[in-house]
């Protein structure tokens, strides 16, 4: 990895390129979209440093067949100015590397109830709090590369 602290320790352990999605008419916000796995399902997820939890989109949640018994029920969060009800789960998420090593995270995930079909069918969302908060990351727009690693390289 090309990113190091001054004393030579690596800042990150993996990287992934071609993650920047420029705004389009259909998707007017620029995004960083990462390839990874959620509970073993390989998919994409968007970085949202203002977000909370891993927001698992309903379609992905259905494909994962998450067990309701393992969830904390009847939670409500604000998503795009709408109160969305759902459940909290503990899920394993892996950010996949095209250089270096993958990064596996155990995170709190919010899964909307099945009734909220008006949640847009976007990639799932990687919030900072309770998801990316233990990840070192950096983005180089010059090379369109996202660098990542654990907050503690001993971990």
């Amino acid at each position: 990895m090309p990113l190091f602290f001054a004393d030579g320790r690596p800042f990150v352990t993996g990287s992934q390129s071609q993650v920047f999605y420029a705004p389009t008419r259909a998707e007017p916000k620029a995004r960083l979209v990462l390839r990874g796995t959620i509970e073993g399902l390989t998919t994409q997820a968007m970085v949202d440093t203002g977000g909370l939890y891993l927001f698992c989109m309903p379609s992905v949640a259905r494909a994962l067949h998450l067990e309701a018994a393992q969830a904390l029920g009847a939670q409500t969060i604000l998503f795009r100015d709408e109160r969305v009800r759902g459940t909290l789960h503990r899920l394993t998420l892996t950010v996949l590397a095209e250089e270096g090593a993958d990064l596996q995270l155990d995170v709190t995930a919010f899964v909307p109830d099945a009734g909220y079909e008006n949640v847009p069918d976007l990639p799932s969302i990687l919030g900072l709090h309770s998801c990316l908060e233990r990840v070192r990351f950096a983005f180089d727009p010059a090379t369109d590369t996202f660098y990542f690693g654990p907050a503690s390289l001993a971990g």
């Binding site: 390129s17 071609q18 999605y21 390989t42 259905r62 494909a63 969830a71 995170v107 709190t108």
Partner: protein, 177 residues
């Protein structure tokens, strides 16, 4: 009783709690509402108990049920850090209480571990990124299944895509945005 007949802080509490679906039952809501009334009777020095300021319990003197209720309320009002702290401390104090252990497990701070990636996996991640970058506009709004940078199938929903491909092992499944 109309909400307007209640003390302002209690009316606000009830209104927020009902709207947010915080409580699993009317009984749970009433129990917390009674607690608010008691706080009010204790006078102006009592700690305000509104959805924006969840009750801060002393873990060492609270029952497991009180802690579970406080965690639920903290989650409902967006005090995720408070909920996390109560869950972790509560689970430590009551190691056999199933609900507190469950809250502590789900709300625990995230953990991160480095996992070696094979050269084949890294090449596949790169190739899939290249495909998505170069086909973004052509497949916008479609769900696609990719294997090592090659399109296997596309569909208008994830369900349809999974049904079409069958075995999803080794495939990247995503909606193109």
């Amino acid at each position: 009783m109309e909400l307007t007949e209640l003390p302002a802080d209690l009316a606000s509490f009830v209104e927020h709690a009902l709207a947010s679906g915080t409580y699993p039952s009317a009984e749970a809501l009433i129990a917390d509402a009674v607690r608010v009334l008691r706080d009010q009777e204790a006078g102006p020095t009592a700690r305000p108990h509104t959805p924006d300021t969840p009750a801060h319990l002393a873990v060492t003197t609270s029952t497991p049920e009180d802690l579970v209720q406080a965690i639920r309320q903290a989650l409902a009002t967006g005090e995720v850090g408070q909920a996390q702290q109560l869950a972790l401390e509560g689970a430590q104090r009551y190691p056999t209480h199933v609900a507190l252990q469950h809250y502590a497990r789900v709300l625990a701070p995230p953990t991160a571990h480095v996992v070696p990636a094979s050269p084949a996996s890294r090449a596949s991640v790169k190739a899939n990124g290249a495909w998505l970058s170069s086909h973004r506009s052509a497949y916008a709004g479609r769900w696609v299944a990719l294997r090592d940078g090659t399109l296997v199938r596309d569909a208008d929903s994830l369900e349809a895509l999974v049904a079409a491909v069958g075995d999803t092992a080794g495939l990247l499944l995503t909606r193109v945005i």
